[in-house]
Amino acid sequence: MKLLIKNGRVIDPANKIDDNLDILIEGGKISKTGKSVDAKAETVIDASGKIVMPGIIDMHVHLREPGREDKETVFSGTMAAAKGGVTSVLCMPNTLPSLDSAEIINTMKAIIKNTANVDVFICGAITIKRQGKELVNIGGLKKDGIIAISDDGASVDSDELMLKALKEAKKEKILVICHSEDKALSGKGLVNRGFTSTRLGLRGISKESEYKRVGRDIKLAEESGAAAHIAHVSCAESVEIIRKAKKKGIKVTAETAPHYFSLSEGDLLDYNTNMKINPPLRAKDDILAIKQGLKDGTIDIIASDHAPHTENEKEIEFEHAEFGTIGLETELAVSITELIGSGILTWQELIRKMSLNPAMVLGIDKGTLGVNKDADIAIVSPDKEWIVDKAGLVSKSKNSAFIGRKLKGAVECTIYRGKVVYKA
């Protein structure tokens, strides 16, 4: 089975390519790249005027299975991924039960094998039940197949235990993803602390609750020598702390989510619970700082923090609604809209932050269009405009903060291991 993508603008940061090329796919792998590849293929896709890029690797996704299949499943979540040009996801461990034991990891692997539409990599928990009390068997779970650990949704409060986890992770050569939040400071907060929390009469979440914990996590990473990754950076102070740490040579990487450079707390004016997110949407200045961090390389990665919730959990009073927005289907378009054209990122840089960098941070052989690599590819109309419509969302949950937004850049086709898994 051969597939030929013709005449597309191929952008492949790993091989420093930005050129009009053809790509031939055989047996799920890229077999040839070049000008006018002459081959007989069962399927030929004309990509003239479109961008052909490595499939997005989204390293922050909540698939909710097992346990909350009413919100999302591996099947539905990876359908949403395919629609968004995403060919690999890292699923977060805050499922029910948490991904903290060999047994549950094996269950998860079976679900993935049977139902996933794109690659799903597993992030195990750091502590049993994500309670911050007792470490999981990190080495054991790694053998079972996890490629990172995180207590995402919670931070390991104890410095001592977090250091122990980082040291263990270093020994096992596994990435630690930090949900950097000091709950003692964020408490029952609902929105960014400041004018917006005052105006809406809602409890605030201070930036301090984030950046102080970012600082701690980086300090412990330095002490342990482990690879630490800071998830969902939302505020200027965190960006600055990470920038300084990188200058100092500390092994830390960072990610932000599209909503942190496209939406601000001001967008919450009508108590739209789809914009109730943790960490919260911040101030306009923070958006600028996040963009600057993306531009200067402080922030390595864009990931969606796709967090599906049912209508029953969202169409209620703001303070009772769950935190989170879905993002798989919109992350590329939001990033194109906000970052390309305004001169924040070039196409090369954007694609690097959404595919090659996460592949490198996670240590997976993906994120490139090199010969013999997995044929994970997104074909994108860069200038096509569309409006995010609730009815068009394929994720099982519809809680998108971007509903009604006009975006630029549309995924036309997603190819996963040589198979077309999405076509507009």
């Binding site: 929390s197 005052t198 809602l202 009508d270 009073e317 303070e319």
Partner: protein, 322 residues
């Protein structure tokens, strides 16, 4: 109803004073002025809302606001239904949106909602086609209280522009404070908020107010003072001084008033905690307009009920002509 201007009221709901223009508020206050005269007549009833049904949907016990709306609706000849929902039963019971849609299906015209969650009225307004009036949502807004305070001030002092109004008390958790601030600043009043540091919410200065932690400073130039009810039983108050200390440092007493303008107006949204935020002498004294506020509240709520129902009638006509 209004003499001066051609009225343009377009809002189906009244959710907060932040979302109204100065002209909107002026229209409400002027209309309230006309209704206020009716309240002093022998026959205190007009047919403006005859055949309409107003539902008071209260998730927090608040006899005074509920009764005020009830009286207002009845003066306008509307039918009134009161629904009190126990907050404790909310978790297992139906959602606010479902309750709202049910009330709509019962062919009510206006829901007056009081809720402990900020934003509850806005959510309800989005989910039903009938009118929603916010009778207080969490710490967010209590627009009819804001309006009645403004109405009372304007009636007493003839204007709002340039007035120095100080709001004293738990600003952080006060919907009354927020509605007053939005409303008064739109009219060019100079608003000062005064509270212990812990009860001043972050960046409130961006709402256009002056902030002080000193009660004498708040009183010094004030033409009026709005004293908020203190609730020491709430969670957030744990880090906070005792009632006695509060009264000592922030309580409005005759001694303190002596240092203020002689004819300073003293307001309070009620119910009063005598000896907690205000002394009995002041509450019952010559400067107090607390009971007038109660009467004015009816007139203001009549105006609000009247105009939101007008907006809906207009909507319906538009639908028919299209």
């Amino acid at each position: 109803m209004t003499k001066k201007k051609t009225a343009k009221w377009v809002h189906k709901d009244l959710l907060g004073l932040e979302y109204l223009s100065k002209e909107d508020i002026e229209l409400l206050l002027d209309t309230a002025g006309s209704f206020r005269e009716i309240l002093d007549r022998k026959i205190k009833k007009v047919p403006a809302l005859r055949g309409k049904t107003v539902v008071n949907l209260f998730y927090e016990p608040s006899t005074r606001t509920r009764v005020s709306f009830e009286v207002a609706a009845k003066r306008l000849s509307a039918d009134v239904i009161n629904i009190a929902v126990e907050s404790s039963s909310v978790k297992k019971g139906e959602t606010l949106n479902d309750t709202g849609r049910n009330i709509e299906a019962l062919k009510a015209d206006i829901i007056v909602v009081r809720h402990n969650c900020s934003g509850a009225a806005a959510m309800l307004g989005r989910n039903v086609d009938i009118s929603v009036i916010n009778a207080g949502d969490g710490w967010h807004e209590h627009p009819t209280q804001g309006l009645l305070d403004m109405f009372t001030l304007r009636k007493k002092l003839g204007k709002l522009e340039g007035l120095n109004v100080s709001i004293v008390g738990d600003i952080a958790h006060s919907r009354v404070a927020r509605s007053n601030i939005w409303g008064l600043t739109k009219f060019g009043a100079k608003v000062t908020v005064c509270a212990p540091k812990l009860l001043i919410p972050p960046e409130i200065d961006k709402m256009g107010v002056r902030v002080t932690n000193n009660i004498d400073e708040a009183l010094a130039e004030a033409d009026a003072i709005n004293v908020l009810r203190m609730q020491f039983e709430r969670d957030d108050m744990k880090a906070f001084p005792t009632q006695l200390e509060y009264f000592k440092n922030f309580g409005i007493t005759e001694d303190r008033l002596k240092k203020a303008k002689k004819d300073i107006i003293v307001m309070h949204p009620g119910p009063i905690n005598r000896g907690v935020e205000i002394s009995s002498q002041v509450a019952d004294g010559a400067n107090s307009v607390i009971l007038e506020q109660v009467t004015n509240g009816i007139a203001v709520r009549m105006a609000v009920l009247f105009w939101v129902s007008q907006a809906r009638d207009k909507d319906k006509k538009d639908e028919i002509t299209h």
